[in-house]
Amino acid sequence: MIQTEAILTLWQREILRFVRNKSRIIGGLGTPLLFLLVLGSGFDRLLNVGGGLSYFQFLAPGVIGMVLLFGGMFSGINVVYDRQFGFLKEILVAPVSRASMVIGRTLGGATTAMFQAAILLVLTLLVGVQLDPVQIVLMVLAMTWIAFGFTAMGLAIAAKLTDFQGFQLIVNFIMMPMFFLSGALYPLDQLPPWLQTATSLNPMTYGVELMRFIALGQSSMDPGLALAIQTAFNALMLWLAAWLFSQKE
């Protein structure tokens, strides 16, 4: 059962909380910026990623993917926070279906992660990645859609957890491998077989390739396929989170 008003309410709440908490916005950008500026500048002269691209350009969509992954997954922590402080119960006893609740929160988390990524996008524009308005609009849409999947995943993890430490441990345990085993830092073309397998099983790979296609006009795979896999991943995570939240003790 889908309740539009409830979805909008929870969506707006996430955004309101995000806007009121400036430190969260800045905090989420530190690590990705470090990666982009240090790795990007450090390896720019050394690495040839082909296609006439500098490493810096190549890396930019990957690091935006990192912001979406971190931002999306960590927005699940709001559920843990709500559980600790009791607000989750207020939502759970309201006449709102679990599916609506999960959709509203996922949209909220996806929007806030997209905002963070958009800040990074603006920074990359300033340092030399060139995008026309159509590309920017497509990037924003893609970023939102990618963040949607990661947020739903964060929610699914948070559904059964009661403490922050547990959430942080699990998220870090999943997040770091997802980041390093995607095509965010290196091209997928000439990888050893084991790494090729790992990257092809990683949902993040497809989101990064999709953004690379939009921003740079080239990618290691068909963007239609990347979008299809991203969409399937989003649907699966959304269903999983809704199902986990509908399980009562």
């Binding site: 309101l16 909380r17 402080f85 009791g86 207020e90 006449p95 009562k248």
Partner: protein, 325 residues
């Protein structure tokens, strides 16, 4: 139809039975209390009634809706004030209430009207645009009660509504609850481990201990159950003889008679004394407090258990953010 009706309602967590088969009937418009120590199963019972926990066995109906097969209808018709804070402290009072109204499907005009009404009721209008981080514990409680009432529920659940509040705020909240029950006809189910709270507010009290109801009656009748007559006279031996049919006990130069009907027993003692021409130097009815009743029924006093991890966490956090409670 009853506001609440349970039949053999049970909850077990693994090997631990938190609530033993429970049959309660709460009338419409009644203030019904669940009184018992921490861990007695009060919150577990409430959680099942408000659809947060699935029963392990038995059935429960709230406003005629089954908690397991019609949870959405149950949720639509009830209001809840949880034992722990359940507000979003990064939002303002007004925003919290507005969000509540939207989750309960109330249109904008109605929300606006009701928010103004309930804020006025709990006296928080002047602070309505402040973020809740700046509120005291008592103010948050009042806001939560306001929120529980906003969608005009038929049944209001209050889980330890005045836990940890100062006596003055507690009095205020008691007055609100009474007023609501009287003026709006809201059925109120409350849990508490404060004797005086149950005594002051409830039409009927169920005393719970270790997942079972050990007594259920009006506070007055509960206290009358075990009243004691204290009688003294200059001719105590003769008086003791004369009252022998009433199972008297001698103690400290007085005669004590236990009775469940103190008024009748009192008259009887007076008439016997008059007939035998025995002058009484003292006659008194000692009614027990609910605390006494509780101790007698359960063999232990209402105790405060250690705070759990999450309580400590919350206390710590409150200390860090400077909230007073």
């Amino acid at each position: 139809m009853h506001a609440i009706e349970t039949h053999q309602l049970t909850k077990a967590f693994g090997a631990l039975t938190a609530v033993h088969p429970l049959d309660i009937h709460v009338k419409k418009g009644e203030v019904f209390g669940l009184l018992g120590p921490n861990g007695a199963g009060k919150t577990t019972t409430i959680s099942m009634l408000v659809t947060l926990l699935s029963p392990s066995g038995g059935t429960a109906k709230v406003n005629g809706f089954d908690v397991q097969t019609q949870p959405d209808l149950v949720r639509q018709s009830i209001g809840i004030v949880f034992q722990d804070e359940s507000i979003d402290d990064e939002l303002t009072a007004w925003e919290n209430l507005d969000m509540h109204g939207r989750l309960y499907g109330m249109p904008w005009e109605l929300r606006k009207k009701r928010i103004e009404e309930v804020l006025k009721l709990v006296g928080l209008q002047p602070r309505q645009d402040d973020v809740l981080k700046t509120y005291s514990g008592g103010m948050i409680r009042r806001l939560e009660i306001a929120r529980g009432l906003m969608h005009h529920p038929n049944v209001l659940f209050l889980d330890e509504p005045t836990l940890g509040l100062d006596p003055q705020t507690r009095r205020h909240i008691w007055t609100y609850i009474r007023k609501l029950n009287r003026d709006e006809g809201v059925t109120v189910i409350l849990t508490t481990h404060y004797m005086e709270e149950a005594d002051f507010l409830c039409d009927r009290i169920a005393i719970m201990d270790q997942g079972k109801i050990v007594a259920l009656d009006t506070p007055k009748k509960l206290k009358e159950r075990d009243a004691t007559l204290h009688v003294a006279s200059g001719k105590i031996d003769e008086l003791y003889q004369a009252l022998s049919a009433m199972n008297p006990v001698r103690q400290n130069g007085k005669i004590l008679i236990e009775t469940s009907q103190p008024q009748r027993s009192l008259k009887r003692v007076l008439s016997i004394a008059e007939k035998r021409k025995l002058a009484l130097t003292e006659i008194d009815v000692k009614k027990p407090t609910l605390e006494d009743i509780f101790v007698e029924l359960t063999g232990h006093s209402i105790r405060d258990e250690k705070a759990g991890t999450s309580d400590r966490f919350k206390a710590y956090n409150r200390a860090m953010t400077g909230r007073r409670k």
